[in-house]
Amino acid sequence: MPTAPHTAPRAGRRNRWGEHGLAWAFLLPSLVVFVLFIGYPLGRTIYLSGHANDLFGAPSRYVGMKHYTDLLTSADFRRTLVTTALFTLFTVVPGVLGALVLVLLLENRIRGVRLLRSAFALPFAFSVASASVVFAVFFNPASGVLNGLLSHVGLGPIGWLTDSRYALVSVAVTTVWMNLGYNVLVLSAGIGSIPGEIVEAARIDGASGLRLARSITVPMLGPNLFFLTVVSTVHALQSFGQIHILTKGGPDGSTRTLVYSVYEKAFAYGSSDFGTASAQAVVLLVVVLACTAVQFGVLERKVHYA
């Protein structure tokens, strides 16, 4: 070891040069993809939102904030924002609470827990498209199972997807079902990481059932519930497939969320209004970033990323 210092630094320095180069070479493939398909489009979306475009979607002239001020004064867009907020509420609250109840019920030392847990994870195998077309079959007003069951108790057929009073709720129900598997998996993992001694100690003190859940399990799940709420909110804001498949934003615009509105303006029915669509996309971006910022702001004190 005493002989090493003479040669090591020089070899080390050359080596380190090579290692720096190697590091960049290893990062390059990812960085290229990020620049081309995330960085550039971010800037381009903002650019497009400030430009009017011709019929083919090519930006024609600079219009400044016009698209944004148009949106602010548009009753249609305000309705879109309200619909987005309602859809988020209708999917996140039942989705998180439902999964919490299921996971707590599964904690009751019952038989066949593994089997049940797998059953609850089943929807996780469904894609947006497969879940939506299955529910479309359910919701069918004439031959669907739902109206069939209703008719047994003497209730008239409901236009689940064709009545503007029910359409948003129907799409939300589909979404809650679809996300349940994920939510259960996340909360089960959370419960699994609660130290066994704490639960045992509480049980020895006589706590069980509701008391155990209220005083130990739910508080210990706090961070997981928070994570799940934020992730679910961001997912809900980005939902597209189920709306496109089930209602196409209708009836009468009652299920037109922000993302769906972006799609309609930019791609649907031969529309290429990329300017307006991009302004709406920027609104979406800001809302999602705000949610993520809340998450990081709260979690910063609890997790070490570095």
């Binding site: 290893f26 489009p41 299921l102 996780f124 894609s127 077309v133 004439a142 996340v186």
Partner: protein
Amino acid sequence: MTSIATEAEAPEASKAPRPRTRTLAGRSPRDLLGRAAVYLLLAVAVVTVAFPVYYAVAGAFMGPSELSSYPPALVPHSVTGRNFSGAVDAIPLARQYANSAIVATVITLAQLFTSVLAAYAFVFLPLKARAAVFGVFLATLMVPWEAIIIPNYLTLSGWGLGNTYFGLVLPFLASGFGTFMLRQAFRQLPGELRDAARIDGAGHWRFLWRIVVPLNKPALAALSIYVFLSAWNQYFWPLIITRTANMQTLQIGLTSLRDSEMADPGLILAGVVLSLLPTLALVVFGQRFIVRGLTAGAVR
């Protein structure tokens, strides 16, 4: 992780001297009532959650008269395979199945490769601007894909890659999430491993593929399953970047079954069952890996 630990502890806990006293007779009526309520609630929940899955499978084997009967049949009386052949006739199902498989496999392999390299650079290589570069990787996680889909569509169409495999996969060949997840895994390796490999004369390339990758198989499996599922299930991007039925993925094909003139529920459900085969297999056999992947970004 800890979930494994509690699973291992559970049998011991039940071996504790309690079981004798925990017989039916030893319980208070209130306790019994509570347990009955738990079982009842769970039964209702299982039926609710599993019913759509059951009905998709059962309906796929029902004849048209059963599916359109009123009130609807819940059990197929005469099992038929006609819906499956009907679905194959209605859309180029085999071709779309292959498209989905190709796209999901390419995206998975590419993301594994790019994420392994990037994660290795963050953990084992010297880097001046490490924090800043890592910040860029994390920032990509926060950008909703739907908000930047318009320029991406314009870029790839402009390159003439609309309605091609390249158009379907190019934007997804790298991922901040994959890099983040693998970086967490690589950091768990003891630092002496690298020193030992260096003394044995192994360079970075060999150390990476001979030591780091084999030692992190669970994390790589988790990432593969997660990426494959997401790619297989993609909807918005394949919807807008493909134009012909022959280039569409299975998910878009399913929708066209629903939107087609006949919209036969039997065909739709048969298509759903076929599309579920790979994802169901992954969920059933890879569940423990999936949990690991899902919670990689969560609090531990």
